[in-house]
């Protein structure tokens, strides 16, 4: 497998409002826990060092010690408990109407991403990649079409499960421009490991430009080669599962390919979206991500290359 990581990501390096609140709680927690741990380890290691000491503390002293220790434990837990409840409340605080509403549906093993339009805003459909404008609250409705998945982009927020019989929601508010990786966090079967997600946070202007391009139907192929590719795509049965808006391809069980060339990865974060990788993926997806739902289709080399050329034109 090739390197598809764009940036390192960490729970402790927040790029979103919610992740930031969680890190503040983490900082408090780690100090309290470290102090407790230091005491216990000091008294345990001290035992090994005091071997020759004549006599130990009296029962009276120990009883007082036990009371003090218990109170200290209770106090530490109380501080953490109160801080946790406050953070929990802050995370759940409504921030009014989010200007952006998405629906993310988990499938074995990829993410269907829809931007819900409304008014004069058209809808947009993509997969395995979410683009967000910086400093803008966004509401993401979560659902699953099969088993339980979990939506996790550590730089932005904690997890939220996608449960088939229980629609739910997560809110994000990115605060930094960058590319942030996410991954399914609930074991969802064979290819749970290769169910990645990319979140790209950009400036408002860049986001709007991207959105406008995405809302448009697929570009007409300009070369004969790509046109042949489109024909091969339809003939080979790809259209049964995939959608390419503006063409006859309108399958709904696999990722929308209308603007596949604008995406960074293939196979839900499995491969970088490069010509060679794309062609390898179409030729034998079962080799790269065994068990995934895309069958290997018997294509002759010219058709394969034509399809690749066509898909590469779908900016």
């Amino acid at each position: 497998m090739t390197n598809v990581a764009e940036t390192l990501h960490s729970v402790l390096d927040p790029a979103g409002a919610h992740a930031q609140q969680i890190v503040s709680l983490w900082d408090l927690t780690i100090w309290i826990c470290a102090a407790m741990y230091f005491l216990v380890v000091a008294f345990t290691v001290g035992l090994l060092l005091k071997r020759r000491a004549p006599s130990g503390p009296s029962d009276r002293a120990l009883k007082q010690g036990l009371i003090v220790w218990t109170l200290a434990v209770v106090a530490g837990l109380a501080v953490l408990g109160v801080a946790s409840v406050r953070t929990d409340g802050a995370l759940a605080a409504p921030f009014g109407d989010a200007p952006l509403h998405l629906r993310v549906t988990g499938h074995q093993w990829w993410w269907d991403v829809e931007y819900i339009g409304g008014g004069d805003l058209p809808g947009v459909r993509t997969a395995n990649e979410i683009r967000l404008p910086i400093d803008t609250p966004v509401r993401i409705s979560l659902a699953s079409s099969d088993v339980i998945h979990s939506f996790w982009v550590p730089s932005l927020h904690g997890k939220r499960d996608l449960i088939p019989d229980r629609p739910s929601e997560i809110r994000l508010e990115p605060r930094r421009i960058g590319v942030f990786r996410g991954q399914c966090a609930e074991f969802c079967g064979l290819q749970h490991a290769l169910m990645g997600l990319t979140v790209i946070v950009s400036s408002r202007a860049a986001f709007d430009a991207w959105y406008e391009r995405q809302a448009a139907p697929a570009r007409e192929p300009t070369s004969a080669h790509a046109r042949a590719g489109r024909q091969a795509f339809m003939d080979a049965g790809c259209a049964t599962c995939h959608t390419i808006a503006g063409t006859a391809a309108s399958g709904r069980v696999a990722p929308d390919l209308t603007h596949i060339a604008s995406r960074r990865t293939l196979g839900a974060g499995t491969l970088p979206n490069l010509r060679g990788q794309l062609s390898a993926w179409i030729a034998d997806p079962q080799h790269i991500k065994p068990g995934n739902r895309m069958p290997a289709i018997d294509l002759d080399a010219p058709s394969l290359q034509a399809i690749v050329a066509y898909l590469e034109s779908l900016q």
Partner: protein, 630 residues
């Protein structure tokens, strides 16, 4: 003819009579029909440690695969079987049975009685456990190992997403081990409540017995939940009920509630017996009674109680109502208090005394250092906001290995060194013991500490591979290196103990100068445990009565007679006859196993299979023409 134990009887003659009455039948038939709690306990230990070694090998397989990004050593299908069979083996076939095995062996000796309350039931439970474990591993060896995790979340575990028999095998294996665990728990509770030596009041009862009693009560309340859950799951898969299938109107989260209602207490069912072991070893190697004994007992009871109120902390990310989450967060944090109190009491006892840092005690000190870190990360996971980030990441993998290996395996291996002379009559080597401890301590921390950092760096659990450049490579390699050191420690312990069987020094009855009753008899003890019924004059009778231990006479020698005592004060109550060797427990176990295995394939197995079970149970309970008890 005097058939009772009377003080004027020639000791050799009394011994011979006891041997005739309590002996097993000869040969392989005798081995299959035995009801001797020590033999059954040893079998439990051998079987459980075999599963531990097997499960450990699967863990090494996973670590080898994760050592490098994009490794192709283990494919996705094998990997999901590896982690499912590893965790299932460790939880159901190692941790719970090994603790019960130790209890089956030590409880009657420590309580000062001749055998367990229901010896045939414990023979039966061993066979059921063995057959269930064998089924899981045979399935794994023919590539039919369960593959949906030890928690088997629905709807993934429904037949729509997991066709084949893998999940059914998992679910039935759970049924096997839970039947077995319940049977043992009933036997242990009864033994501890009704068979303690006269004078062993509740206030004098060793903490190991307290821990076993409380754990066994937890088993009685927790295990039925998971048996019910797996039974419903099997029905979903076998006869098309839809309890957990959203497509048929079922509720997928219901499974999580039922599973964790068992699953969280399960952790404490593994952990509480270990606390009893720590107290036992700390007392013996400081030659003092534990500081704050009543507080320790209350702490155990409080832990057990709260353990039933935390299960939702596995489910914060499912989006349950916030008020509910807050309640479970509170309970999950409060349970740290009794653990903190116990840590204080052990350290206080050690600081008061002059500890001998022999291998068993070193393991208990290792327990404190490792377990407390796991407890603190547990507090972090109890916090809803932190858990949303840490849940299902490698941070959690690190956390529960700190609490389960730190909290249960360290004390267990320490206890194994401690009771080894009693079990085998041989002393384990001290030098190799110290080596095994330091290897485990270092190997463990090198393996699992980096996993905290991996979780914080966003690495989810249960992934068979990961891409390069995520910052996970180095930590994973380090973790794999550490796992090899853990393997070495286990090998050193195995070599040390097995070698002692041939070359070890012969153990006297009380090699550690311990104070509890199991050390009042030979090492290893005769099948009848004690020549005379001992009497407990103190929490540590052997320390108080240095010269000779008071005992009671009057129990029959020509039949398997036990003394039952009152539950609180342990006053002599009645004499009761204990059943002798029988093949029926094995026959019943085989019939039950046939029913369970058959029901993986057809619901009719429940109907047809009930017949042999009925027949064997009739055989088991057929009234004997024994003389009535007087």
């Amino acid at each position: 003819m005097s058939a009772v134990d009377d003080p004027w009887l020639d000791p050799a003659q009394a011994q011979a009579r006891l041997a005739r009455t309590w002996g097993s039948l000869p040969g392989w038939w005798g081995a299959l029909a035995t009801v001797d709690h020590k033999r059954i306990g040893r079998r439990y230990l051998v079987t459980a440690f075999t599963f531990f070694a097997l499960g450990g090998m699967l863990a090494l397989g996973m670590r080898m695969q994760l050592a490098q990004a994009g490794s192709t050593l283990v494919g996705p299908d094998l990997y999901r079987q590896l982690f499912t069979v590893h965790s299932t083996t460790m939880m159901f076939l190692f941790a719970v049975p090994v603790m019960q095995g130790i209890a089956i062996y030590t409880v009657p000796l420590m309580a000062g009685t001749r055998t367990l309350a229901f010896p045939r039931l414990s023979a039966f439970s061993y066979w059921v456990y063995l057959l269930g474990g064998a089924m899981l591993w045979l399935a794994f060896l023919v590539d039919a190992g369960p593959d949906t995790g030890w928690f088997s979340y629905t709807p993934l575990a429904e037949s729509q997403f997991s066709p084949g028999k893998r999940v059914d095998i998992w679910a039935q294996m759970v049924t096997f081990t839970e039947v077995s665990a319940l049977a043992v728990a009933v036997s242990l509770v009864t033994t501890i409540v009704k068979q303690r030596a006269p004078g062993m009041t509740l206030a004098r009862m060793p903490l190991h017995l307290w821990a076993t009693l409380i754990t066994s009560l937890m088993v009685v309340f927790a295990m039925p939940a998971v048996m019910l859950a797996t039974a419903l799951l099997i029905m979903d898969r076998l006869v098309g009920t839809q309890f957990f299938a959203p497509s048929g109107g079922g509720d997928s989260l219901l499974w999580q509630h039922m599973f964790w209602f068992f699953g969280h207490p399960e952790v404490y069912i593994i952990f509480l017996p270990a606390l009893g072991m720590v107290s036992t070893v700390v007392e013996t190697f400081t030659r003092r009674r534990i500081f704050g004994y009543p507080v320790m007992v209350l702490a155990l009871a409080m832990t057990a109680l709260f353990a039933f109120g935390l299960w939702v902390h596995h489910m914060y990310a499912t989006g349950l109502p916030r008020l509910g989450n807050t309640f479970f967060m509170g309970a999950s944090m409060i349970i740290a208090i009794p653990s903190g109190v116990q840590i204080f009491c052990w350290l206080a006892t050690l600081w008061q005394g002059r500890p001998r840092f022999a291998t068993p005690l070193m393991y208990m000190l290792g327990f404190i250092v490792v377990f407390v870190l796991g407890g603190l990360t547990g507090v972090m996971l109890a916090s809803v906001p932190l858990d949303l980030q840490l849940h299902d990441s490698f941070f959690v993998v690190a956390h529960f290995h700190y609490v389960l290996i730190g909290g249960a395996v360290f004390p267990l291996i320490g206890a194994l060194y401690y009771w080894w002379p009693k079990l085998t009559g041989r002393m384990p080597g001290e030098r190799a013991g110290q080596w095994s401890f330091w290897l485990l301590f270092i190997g463990f921390n090198v393996t699992f500490f980096p996993q905290h950092l991996l979780g914080l760096a966003g690495m989810p659990r249960r992934v068979y591979t990961y891409a390069q450049g995520l910052g996970w490579d180095g930590l994973n390699l380090l973790s794999t290196a550490g796992s090899i050191v853990i393997g070495m420690s286990v090998l050193v312990t195995a070599w040390n103990l097995l070698r002692s069987l041939r070359r070890g020094e012969h153990a006297p009855p009380n090699p550690w100068d311990a104070g509890t009753l199991e050390w009042a008899t030979a090492s290893p003890p005769p099948t009848w445990n004690f020549a005379h019924q001992p009497v407990a004059t103190d929490a540590h009778p052997l320390w108080r009565e240095r010269e000779s231990l008071p005992c009671m006479s009057g129990l029959a020698l020509d039949k398997r007679e036990l003394l039952l005592t009152s539950g609180v004060e342990a006053r002599p109550d009645v004499r009761e006859t204990s059943p002798g060797p029988s093949i029926w427990p094995l026959a019943t176990a085989l019939a039950v196993a046939a029913l369970f295995v058959g029901s993986i394939y057809t619901p009719w197995a429940v109907v047809i299979g009930a017949l042999p079970v009925t027949v064997t149970l009739i055989g088991w309970f057929w009234p004997k023409s024994l003389r009535e008890d007087e």
